[in-house]
């Protein structure tokens, strides 16, 4: 057996490398959902009254809503009373003046995850907001950003320090009652990231949030709000991991983006939540996320790029409301499902303004016994003269026991619009592999080249380091699935 084979066998048996749990002295936790839970969260975070009202209104609506079941997903019912809605490690409870005061155990956790927060080890050129269970632990490069006028902080901080911006834009894109999971998030969200870029500003560095769920049975309900004023630009990345538990954990986030005239937001995600046991399907994150951006201004642009590799269940449709004339929406996605993972993901492009354009490129890879679904809506409203959409969604199947499904929804009301949708489903064929092998390239390398080629259109949209990380992540996840 060659060295190469040994390495690959190691990789095949390799576990989810972020599956460790950090032992911290437990702090405040709140289990079960009621108005009291919500009042507690709001009071504990010393929120202004408008926030409590917003939460309670959302909760009362949520009680009347039914959990959606239209997605092509199968999972046991979620017990909403058994979830920990607020988990705050004791070490993160007190308000910190500087990073030096952060509990070293927490810092070590993020370092192990490859997200160094201490000054000397900071990733060059990327500002990070690190969120651990329900609280934001630290935000780096805050000062440098402030010089440029950019506000980048945890959501809780924004509520305290910039309540007027929060009140103006909160739920302006995703209404509290938009859907079941968005309503739940609106009622109980604990923290998240907040970005505000003033007009005529190009954010000097990439912004990034890192989400970590640590406590068993806890749910993570974070909320991200990004507002970019006229003529400004920001690029934002998010990453996420969780320890291995045998029970499912709920992650129900809401992300809202607002782009005003000539503004541009680039939002990239590499999602690697714990996917559950590949053989039994035990454990893993239920990822029910509502992400939506509003191109409110003329010639504004919102671009979503996502690489979805983790989670037992993914239910996620990052969308663009193109209401400004000449605005542009983009969605680039690679969704990989292996083992018993299920993903139902895609986008919505709502064309309202004139000459709005959107591009959708979705690549689904399904292996093992997984199920991978693309579900996307392209809607052209009556007034959207000259709207243009191009959609391409390709699926790649690896092995005979997985499924790949495509559910496009195209709804057109304007004769001058042009909409095209294309989809193909295929597998990595024996003759493709043979072609590589007869040129001296091993089967594994051939496979990885073919898959990277398949995803290239999406990967090249990711910022530099993320593209490398995504390629490696995909390689790791697929080891062992290739026959």
């Amino acid at each position: 057996m060659t060295d190469k084979n040994i390495r690959i066998e190691d990789l095949v048996n390799r576990d989810y490398q972020y599956g460790f749990k950090t032992e911290l002295e437990p702090g405040t936790t709140v289990q079960g959902l009621s108005e009291d839970t919500i009042r507690f969260i709001s009071a504990h975070k010393k929120e202004p009254k408008f926030m409590l009202d917003f939460r309670l209104k959302a909760y009362r609506q949520w009680l009347k809503m039914k959990e959606p079941r239209w997605a092509h997903l199968q999972y046991a019912p979620i017990d909403y009373q058994n979830i920990i809605y607020y988990a705050e490690p004791k070490a993160a409870a007190k308000k910190l003046k500087s990073l030096d005061e952060v509990d070293p155990e927490l810092l070590r956790t993020f370092e192990k995850l490859g997200i160094p927060l201490t000054e000397q080890k900071k990733l060059a050129g990327v500002a990070v907001d690190a969120i651990f269970d329900s609280v934001s632990v630290a935000t780096t490069f805050k000062e440098k950003l402030r010089e440029a006028g950019v506000i980048f902080c945890s959501f809780s901080e924004a509520v305290q320090e910039h309540p007027e911006i929060v009140e103006k834009y909160l739920s302006s894109v995703v209404p509290a009652t938009d859907n079941f999971f968005a309503a739940l998030n609106s009622a109980v969200f604990t923290d998240g990231s907040f970005v505000y870029v003033p007009r005529d500003t190009r954010c000097p560095m990439e912004l990034s949030s890192y989400f970590r769920i640590n406590t068993e049975n806890s749910g993570q309900f974070e909320r991200t709000l990004i507002v970019v004023e006229e003529n400004s630009h920001v690029s934002y990345l998010e990453g996420c991991t969780a320890p291995k538990f045998d029970t499912h954990q709920l992650h129900a986030a809401v992300v809202e983006l607002v782009a005003l005239d000539h503004a541009e937001i680039k939002y990239s995600t590499v999602q690697n939540w714990y996917a559950g046991d590949p053989a039994t399907g035990k454990g893993g994150i239920y990822n029910f996320v509502t992400k939506r951006g509003k191109c409110a201004g003329r010639r504004s642009k919102i671009s979503w790029t996502q690489v979805e590799t983790g989670s037992a269940i993914t239910w996620k449709y990052p969308s663009c409301i193109l209401s400004g004339d000449d605005s542009v929406g983009e969605f680039y996605s690679v969704a990989l499902t292996t083992g018993k993972q299920q993903a139902d993901t895609g986008t919505k492009m709502i064309h309202i303004g004139k000459n709005t354009r959107s591009t959708i490129v979705s690549k689904g890879i399904s292996a093992g016994q997984a199920s991978n679904n693309y579900r996307g809506l392209v809607q052209v409203s009556k007034g959207a003269e000259g709207a243009r959409n191009f959609t391409q969604c390709d699926s790649l199947l690896i092995g005979p026991n997985c499924g790949a499904h495509t559910f496009p929804y195209i709804d057109l009301q304007n004769a001058s619009s042009q909409v095209e949708h294309e989809a193909t489903t295929s597998r990595v064929s024996e003759d493709q592999l043979f072609y590589f092998q007869q040129r001296g390239i091993s089967k594994e390398d051939a496979m990885s080249s073919i898959i990277n080629g398949f995803c290239k259109q999406v990967f090249r949209e990711l910022p530099g380091e993320f593209a490398v990380e995504a390629t490696q992540l995909l390689g790791l996840k697929l080891e062992g699935t290739v026959g």
């Binding site: 239209w70 009556k382 699926s395 199947l397 690896i398 092995g399 005979p400 026991n401 997985c402 499924g403 790949a404 499904h405 495509t406 559910f407 496009p408 929804y409 195209i410 709804d411 057109l412 009301q413 304007n414 004769a415 001058s416 619009s417 042009q418 909409v419 095209e420 949708h421 294309e422 989809a423 193909t424 489903t425 295929s426 597998r427």
Partner: protein
């Protein structure tokens, strides 16, 4: 009586008696099962995925007359020219006077006598009742009044096309009819069928709820043309087609839709044998407030089967078209080959299109593709034609009719094709503006 009120009373009245009259216990039992299934299911609303863009709420609150035998036409009517072998229904009731004799080599008869003569049809009529998820199909099963049976024994070829005429008169007010068609082509048999649905000409809101079951056994070939053409925008037609294709069987189905308020075609083709092939295509030419909804699904249950779906919509006025199709490759159906294509040409800003070409794939060695494109006449193409001396209106006509012609060219019977081409030409001519 409205359709919703009639849920149970339908069955208790006249509808069961026909089976009793001809002493078909198994049909009675089938109807009772269909009624029970329907009672559990109820009528669709917007929360049903395949009824998302159209719910029959208006239809359900309309009152309909019970059909009575009516003879409006004579046997010599030009409408029957070229249709030598035909079975005619008026308001869903079999009209022996207008129908012709069956051609010698094929069993082509009114359904009840057919069921009586062929007890073996018990395994065919309503075979997939337990899987049936369309309430209107269930209604047809428990309430069909009359129908047509087409049977071809092994290796038999029908020498000429068989014509089915469904007239809705609506002379006494809106009428609801529930005709049923059963086609069985045994091994290696070949047949061509032309089914014509003529709605009421008196502006009446009639409702036709038809079901066609098609069995193509190994190596059989079925060519089927549905003509759903009506000059006004009234009435509703729901046609549920269920096709079962065995090894190397072939089905070619073309549907042309024009006029009516609502037309809904639901086709489910099951490719049960290896190498089965089905080609389903359709054209809707809609104006005014007409709506055409196509709900299509092709299930690849066996390896090596081929399916093609091509649907085009030409829309003007405030018309609506829905293309909701699914190609599903079941586990183990390797080497399946499936294509879905939907193209829409919008001539008006008030027209609306919903396009949903869906894929469900559970096998890895398959070819599956779908495409959907919607737009208006290409300015470059218009310019090309105008630079060659065509006026704007003619140029638009050439492009719009050319768009439609691709589907018309798939109609296998020459005479039928010529007739429909003329009708579509007229319709397109009225739609294009200079």
């Amino acid at each position: 009586m409205t359709v919703s009120e009639s849920k149970s009373s339908y069955a208790q009245q006249v509808r069961l008696s026909k089976a009793q009259e001809v002493r078909l216990g198994w049909v009675e039992a089938l109807r009772a099962r269909a009624l029970k299934a329907f009672d559990e299911k109820g009528f669709p609303d917007k929360s049903w995925e395949s009824w998302r863009y159209f719910t029959p709420s208006k239809l359900l609150s309309s009152a309909f007359e019970k059909p009575v035998p009516a003879e409006l036409l004579s046997k010599e009517d030009p409408i029957f020219a070229g249709a030598r072998c035909r079975i005619v229904f008026v308001d869903g009731l079999f009209s022996p006077k207008l129908s012709s004799q069956a051609p010698g080599n094929v069993d082509f008869s009114e359904l009840w006598s057919g069921l009586f003569n062929h007890p073996e049809l018990e395994t065919r009529l309503g075979r997939d009742l337990d899987k049936e998820d369309n309430p209107f199909s269930l209604i047809n099963t428990f309430a069909f009044e009359d129908g047509a049976l087409i049977m071809l024994p092994s290796g038999r070829q029908a020498l000429e096309p068989l014509h089915l005429f469904f007239f809705t008169t609506g002379t006494r007010g809106p009428v609801a009819s529930v005709p049923r068609i059963l086609l069985v082509a045994e091994e290696g048999a070949e047949v061509a069928v032309v089914a014509r649905f003529y709605g009421g000409n008196h502006g009446q809101n009639s409702f036709e709820n038809a079901v066609a079951e098609i069995y193509a056994d190994a190596g059989a070939r079925v060519r089927w043309t549905n003509l759903q053409i009506q000059e006004n925008e009234s009435g509703s037609l729901f046609l549920q087609t269920r096709a079962y294709l065995k090894e190397k069987a072939e089905l070619d189905m073309v549907t042309v839709t024009r006029g009516r308020e609502i037309t809904r075609n639901e086709i489910r083709a099951e490719l049960e044998g290896p190498g089965a092939q089905c080609r389903i295509s359709g054209l809707s030419v809609l104006s005014g407030r007409s709506q055409a909804h196509q709900a299509l699904s092709v299930l690849h249950r066996s390896p090596g089967a081929v399916s093609r779906q091509i649907y085009k919509n030409l829309l003007d006025g405030q018309s609506r078209a829905e293309f909701n199709s699914l190609a599903e490759v079941c586990p183990g159906a390797q080497k399946s080959d499936s294509h879905q294509l939907n193209k829409n040409l919008l001539l008006s800003d008030d027209a609306r299109v919903y396009s949903r070409p869906k894929l469900k794939i559970y096998a890895d060695d398959v070819q599956a593709a779908h495409g959907s494109a919607t737009g208006q006449a290409d300015p470059g193409e218009l310019f090309y034609l105008r630079s060659r001396g065509l006026d704007l209106r003619t140029a638009r006509f050439v492009l719009a009719y050319g768009f439609a012609e691709e589907i018309l060219s798939l109609i296998p019977e020459k005479e039928v094709r010529a007739e429909i081409e003329a009708s579509v030409k007229n319709a397109v001519h009225a739609m294009v503006r200079g």
